[in-house]
Symmetry: C2
Subunit: 114 residues, 2 copies
């Protein structure tokens, strides 16, 4: 991976990657320690339950999300957030459509193209 | 410091700390690798130029910010973001009032009480 992103990233100039299933992702910045991305959910889209080694903090920008972390389910709305510890099983369904900011350490190298 | 925050944090239940100078900060989540906070700027408030060992990615939720990183100045608006590498001098002025999401790795232990 490149060691880091540009220092300044403009939302209207940065690629929005279509992930399928009503999900899209845009890079907000990264280096070898940290990464933040913006994730767009269409109405009813789901981030399927998964886990990874990376620590994650997620902030809800818009919409309502039914979040599950290690089997505990909560409804998160704009202004709410959550911590996903390493290897915690987590997933989210977004009945309203919405936007998340997902932050990771270490960075998700799997989100970077060559 | 505590090893990590709660898993779920609700914006209307989480303390908003008044930092003075028209700045306020709210914790969004952290563990030993990662931290995210929300920072509220009153109109004209300034985050004075400083630097730190932590990697930082910042996302603009609302408002217009005049951001400086290592002497390079850019205007960032809602949806824009920036990477602040370790020890890069950085600061921001917010002529409009606005809100940032600041993310750090390692976590800013100085933001935790006790």
């Amino acid at each position: 991976m490149n060691k880091q992103s540009e220092l300044f990233l403009f939302g209207n100039e940065t690629e929005v990657e279509d992930l399928g299933g009503g999900l899209k992702r845009q890079m907000l910045g990264y280096n070898e320690e940290l990464m933040a991305v913006k994730v767009f959910f269409d109405k009813g889209a789901e981030g399927y339950t998964h886990k990874h080694r990376h620590s994650q903090v997620t902030f809800v920008v818009e919409g309502e999300f039914h979040f599950s972390i290690d089997g505990e389910m909560k409804v998160l709305k704009a202004g709410d957030s959550c911590l996903i510890p390493p290897y915690a099983e987590h997933g989210a369904v977004c009945p309203t459509g919405g936007i998340l900011i997902d932050t990771f350490s270490p960075p998700r190298e799997d989100f970077l193209k060559e």
